[in-house]
């Protein structure tokens, strides 16, 4: 069974539920303090939260931590690396994914459920979804407004949409370019997303749509 490191930076706060979701999806998972090593892991998840309290810019300080060198190496080997919310911010700040996550168009924290269209099923994290499938998950962030001057090095994985899957402005909660909610690198083994799949992995919490992100990741890591 593949084993995932859920990296805990000072201020990370979605680590426990992310570990649970990975386990539910059939993987092994451990919380790994950011000063520990990533040896022996088959993949990495950078969970949500407020590492370093989001001081300076969300994800900026964590992105400069030494452990990110190991994450880069692991990504280079083709192992899966998933960044959720703050984890996505860490991925862009560290250059593992291009672009930047800017303050929401209404510059405050926003916690609500959204619809997402799955735009790319050829990634390590989306292979169990149908192309164009519409799923529901919560977002909870103040800096999720994706911006890039060049989209040539990324693939769009998830987009904010309406219930029917149309990518319309009204469905865009934060001002993100092209309603982008998640992107991956060209190889599809590094993915960042603002919505929280771990919060949509239990029927009692409103949806199990997010579980497939982890199932896909576990399956991918088995190869």
């Amino acid at each position: 069974m593949p084993k995932f490191a859920v990296i805990v930076f000072p201020g990370t706060n979605c680590d426990f539920e992310t570990v649970s979701a990975i386990k539910k999806a059939g993987g092994k998972a451990e919380r790994v303090w950011y000063k520990q090593s990533l040896k022996d892991f088959d993949g990495v998840v950078l969970p949500g939260g407020f590492s370093y309290a989001d001081y300076l810019r969300a994800g900026a300080i964590s992105a400069r931590a030494e452990i990110m060198e190991e994450v880069k190496a692991l990504a280079g080997e083709g192992k899966p690396v998933l960044g959720i919310c703050n984890g996505f911010q860490v991925l862009t700040e560290s250059g593992l994914l291009s672009g930047a996550l800017r303050p929401n168009k209404i510059p405050r924290f926003l916690c609500r459920w959204v619809y997402l269209k799955v735009s790319d099923t050829q990634t390590a994290f989306t292979q169990f979804y149908e192309e164009g499938e519409v799923i529901r998950m919560p977002i909870a962030h103040a800096e999720g407004n994706y911006y890039a001057d060049d989209l040539s090095k990324v693939k769009i994985a998830f987009q904010y949409s309406d219930e029917k899957g149309s990518i319309v402005e009204e469905a865009n909660p934060n001002g993100s370019l092209l309603n982008i909610a998640g992107i991956s690198n060209e190889k599809g083994n590094v993915l960042g997303m603002m919505p929280h799949p771990e919060r949509a992995s239990d029927k009692w919490l409103g949806s199990e749509d997010g579980l497939k992100v982890f199932k896909s990741m576990v399956e991918y890591a088995k190869r």
């Binding site: 949500g48 405050r108 924290f109 909870a140 009692w204």
Partner: protein
């Protein structure tokens, strides 16, 4: 401190206290720390039953959820600091209550924020509102504790002031409980967390004085959620070792309060080496160090041989720590500054503060008033667009209410529900009705409890326990003190009727501005237990459902939202009939258990009209009701029927075939209409009283951003 207290201290001590001792006694003998004006009355509250593991007396109460699960719960006010610096005041209020929960050994899992302000028309009130919310959001979100509910109320009497209460719950297994007191001498006292600055040097005394115009900066602090989050994780990890002998957070009264209570509670003493405390500001003196209220600090008691193991954990989280003292056999409280002994007091002198009983003078302002002539339609629009009724989405969308992955029922419904295990959830809600309390303190207090219970049962939860937060003006005012005593009696009677106990609470006196007392404001937070599959919500589910009302409607509009928007101060406040409340609540639980109802919502602020509208908007479907079918007592006009705030009432929707079974469950039950179309339609027999499209109602309901001047 009052002169007679100073005299008493001198007598007990046999000498004048020195400057440092005096400062320490001053904070410990303050109203805020000693509860000297309230203690006697608080004893009236029921605090024990089969659900209670630990009642009032420590930092938070502990409730049994099931054999393996205990819930820690507490409530706290941060009114004065928030009125001076709303952002920092509210944020540090969250920090304080979270540490109270943490220091019982539990992981904090949810927050509620009952907050109250003056009218939004005024700039200062908007400023206070926006920054209180931002403070709560920034702190709660960053420490990863979801804010899952609360209250937001606006009232003329709070102009330029704010009441910020926060309740928190934590989760642990019962054997993880740690106490705030030591039971042996020779333990090391370890101070962990932020450095100590000149924060809140007059904080404790400040909270017990009326707000003066130029409150200085010592009253407010810069919140540091980053350190708080590290403290949470480090503390929980340290507790796992089983080697923490006692644990307390530093709050009001700072190091003096935390260490003297920790040592003295079971008769031990302490030596404190004050000069070892890491200082944030240059040249602090011993007095400042001892009573500083700098935030994000905790005090651990550990055995010498365990120090290394515990402090390694602090270092992992890059938290500064220091052995600041030790516990001793002799019941004295001794402070050193370098080699110099700067204080030496009998430890019980700090904690053993005599009660004060102020003069109490009843007042009676309730009297019948005539409801002005106003059409149902106009009343509807005025009430639906009142800031007290409209959707608080603007508030709770700023709060991460999903973090930790437990939030089953999110904010915006009758009560929040957190998933505790695969079968059961914990419901959590807060309520307070100062407008009723003002007219009738006893019934106002009872209504806070009754409404909390109604909110719990509306989602299918069986009430478990209560906490209370009593926000009052100066107890030295005879009318205020009387209203305080009446409030306690109301809280007592209501809890007893429901077989509930208060496991923790807080009293905040001296809430006045410009020499005007605030209304008596008891706030109650309640916990309940719900089977996940029984969880019920207030949204109408589908067209064709029948709409029923449980309970009797009387002419009780004093303190109602209708009277408020019409500017009527008087009237007769709703009276709580505890037997009826209990019966109807039990009926609702039964109906839910039997699967007889589709939607349930309690009737509270804004009466039947608002309850129906909320159910329709939540479900995205309209209704048609005939108010003539509403069971009433007395002569009521249609407007009064719709906007009366009589207690013990619920609206339910259900399928026709379940009608007879439902009737059997309640003494007072009537069918008043059906779920239908996209219109909210109020009729009196055949006469149409008002009709409002869902769209229009939604527009009123969502008007908070506009009131804040946000929409372009």
């Amino acid at each position: 401190m009052f002169p007679h207290e100073e005299k008493l201290i001198k007598e007990r001590l046999g000498r004048e206290p020195n400057e440092v001792e005096n400062a320490m006694l001053e904070v410990m003998w303050s109203e805020h720390a000693s509860y000297k004006s309230s203690r006697k009355w608080l004893k009236l509250l029921p605090t024990k039953n089969e659900h209670v593991i630990l009642g009032p007396g420590e930092d938070a109460g502990v409730v049994k959820f099931d054999e393996n699960t205990a819930i820690v719960v507490g409530i706290e006010s941060h009114n004065h600091p928030s009125a001076v610096e709303p952002y920092g005041g509210a944020a540090t209020g969250i920090g304080g209550i979270v540490r109270d929960i943490l220091c019982m050994g539990a992981r904090p899992i949810a927050l509620l924020d009952p907050i109250r302000f003056g009218p939004l028309e005024k700039e200062r009130n908007r400023y206070l509102f926006e920054y209180v919310v931002k403070g709560i959001a920034d702190y709660g979100n960053r420490i990863g504790v979801p804010t899952v509910g609360g209250e937001t109320e606006f009232d003329e009497s709070l102009d330029s002031y704010t009441l910020v209460n926060v309740a928190c719950i934590g989760l642990m297994s019962p054997e993880e409980l740690v106490h705030s007191y030591v039971e042996e001498s020779g333990l090391l006292l370890v101070l962990v967390g932020n450095k100590t600055g000149r924060d809140g040097i007059h904080g404790v005394t400040f909270a017990s004085e009326e707000l003066s115009e130029n409150a200085d900066r010592s009253a407010v602090q810069i919140p540091d959620p980053f350190t708080e989050k590290l403290l949470i994780e480090a503390t929980l990890e340290a507790l796992k070792t089983g080697k923490v002998k006692a644990l307390k957070d530093l709050g009001g009264g700072g190091l003096t309060c935390a260490s003297s209570e920790m040592a003295g509670k079971k008769g031990f003493g302490a030596i404190i080496y004050a000069d070892r405390v890491p200082q944030r500001e240059p040249n602090m003196n011993p007095m400042e160090v001892m009573i500083s209220e700098s935030q994000e600090r905790m005090l651990f008691a550990v055995r010498k041989e365990d120090l290394n193991e515990i402090t390694k954990i602090f270092e992992k989280y890059e938290l500064e720590w220091v052995v600041v003292g030790e516990t001793i056999e002799k019941p004295r409280y001794i402070v050193y500054w370098g080699d110099e002994k700067i204080a030496d007091l009998p430890i019980d002198l700090l904690a053993d503060v005599p009660t004060i009983e102020w003069e109490a003078k009843p007042y009676s302002i309730e009297k019948e008033v005539k409801t002005p002539e106003i059409s149902v339609e106009e009343a509807l629009i005025r009430v639906l667009s009142s800031p007290n009724i409209i959707d608080k989405e603007w508030v709770y969308r700023q709060y991460d209410h999903e973090v930790q992955g437990r939030t089953v029922l999110k904010p915006g419904l009758d009560a929040a529900v957190l998933k505790i295990n695969d079968e059961y959830g914990l419901a959590f809600v807060s309520d307070g009705n100062p407008s009723y309390s003002y007219l009738n303190p006893c019934h106002g207090a009872m209504s806070a409890v009754a409404e909390a219970v109604r909110n719990l049962v509306s989602v299918g939860a069986k009430p478990l326990a209560l906490v209370d937060n009593l926000n009052f003006a100066s107890p030295e005012r005879p009318e205020v003190y009387w209203s305080f005593i009446e409030t306690i009696k109301g809280l007592r009677d209501a809890a007893k009727a429901f077989d509930l106990a208060y496991v923790s609470g807080n009293v905040s006196f001296y809430n006045e501005v410009g020499n005007k007392p605030i209304k008596p404001t008891p706030v109650v937070a309640a916990l309940g237990r719900v089977k996940l599959e029984n969880i019920t919500t207030m949204d109408f589910k589908s067209e064709g459902e029948m709409i029923g009302i449980v309970g009797i409607t009387k002419k009780e509009l004093g303190g109602s939202e209708l009277y408020r928007v019409l500017g009527i101060d008087g009237g007769v406040a709703p009276k709580v009939e505890l037997e009826r409340e209990k019966k109807n609540a039990e009926g609702i639980l039964k109906a839910i258990e039997l699967g007889l109802v589709k939607a349930v919502h309690d009737v509270s602020k804004g009466g039947i009209a608002v309850a129906l509208m909320e159910m329709a908007l939540a479900g995205g479907v309209g209704f048609e009701v005939d108010i003539n079918k509403v069971p009433v007592k007395g002569e009521l006009s249609p407007v009064e029927v719709l906007f009366s705030e009589s207690q013990a009432r619920f609206i339910v929707s259900f399928n026709k075939e379940d009608l007879e079974k439902l009737r059997e469950l309640f003494d007072e039950f009537a069918v008043i209409g059906e779920v239908k179309g996209k219109i909210l339609l109020f009729k009196n027999k055949e006469e149409e009283l008002a009709r409002l499209s869902l769209e229009k109602a939604q527009e009123f309901y969502n008007s908070l951003p506009k009131l804040l001047g946000e929409e372009e």
